[in-house]
Amino acid sequence: MATGDASDPRIAGIAKSIRVIPDFPKPGILFQDITTLLLHTKAFRDTIDLFVERYQGKGISVVAGVEARGFIFGPPIALAIGAKFVPMRKPNKLPGPVIAEEYSLEYGTDKMEMHEGAVEAGEKVLVIDDLIATGGTLGAAIRLLGRVGAHVVECACVIELPELKGRDRLGDTPLFVLVSSA
């Protein structure tokens, strides 16, 4: 698993701009709030630049973003590297034919959907979300894309919560994060 180069001065600015909200959505959870990063134009710009620098020129034709915060980071990256943007959504949001993948939550399961035909076999894909915790959501995205024959080259997140070992649920797919929040 790769982490952004901690000596890159942009990383410190990005880390500082993330707000931590205790006890959200429930007691004991320290929520990593990226909305404050989006208010700092330089930090938001730097976040996108760091991903674009890593992924441009690598033949990636699809950026898949996980609803909803993956929709904030994914499209600017897709536009900059010349790729399609494909939203990975909660059930019943995407119109038209979809394929679905179930994944586990702490209690129960949820489903992720992708449009049929959005991604073709053999395409190289980058999966984006704001944060990786348990890796359940990203694991579902990787499986969905694999089912249509696409190759997920990497998962990229702004933040990782390493104690939750989300990396282990991604199989062979590498993970790249900018900030590790222990």
């Binding site: 499209p75 897709a78 010349g82 038209g96």
Partner: protein, 191 residues
Amino acid sequence: MFAAENGLKGDPRLEAISRAIRVVPHFPKPGIMFQDITTLLLDHKAFKDTVEIFVDRYRDMDISVVAGVEARGFMFGPSIALAIGAKFVPLRKPRKLPGEVFSEEYVLEYGTDCLQMHVGAVQAGERAIVIDDLVATGGTLSAAIKLLERAGAEVVECGCVIGLPEVKGQRRLDGKPLYILVEPRDIDDCC
């Protein structure tokens, strides 16, 4: 107002944007011809052009806030914000934003819904635009405008990729200018 009436008449980019949008009949319920922008996001040039048209319009208007409505407003707003040097502020469904929020209720066909914005995201006096993929009745955009005004911002304009017939001929929504790129398509127009 439609972009074609405001300096972009005959602009080939608008035609390509319109053609890239897919119509899905009877979604989410019978009788609705859903304007699906996900196919626009698959067309790199058309998606890039969509963002560029908004950026060209807003870059010299001293806009410091781009507010995007969950969830499809998130697909267009941030790229515009980054290009014009503005903050991006997500306007979300209830209980998604973790911090202290302003809430604004609005009317649906059946029942009501609610839009929220973080307190402190926007300062009094800031000039803001609201971005969404589509405007139909304008209920959601009205709620968005109210949220921004409660924080003391000035909403300069609302920008949407698609404008449904209900807003055709209206240049304003709640007194705010409306800027729309394309009209909805019929299923017969589709490839």
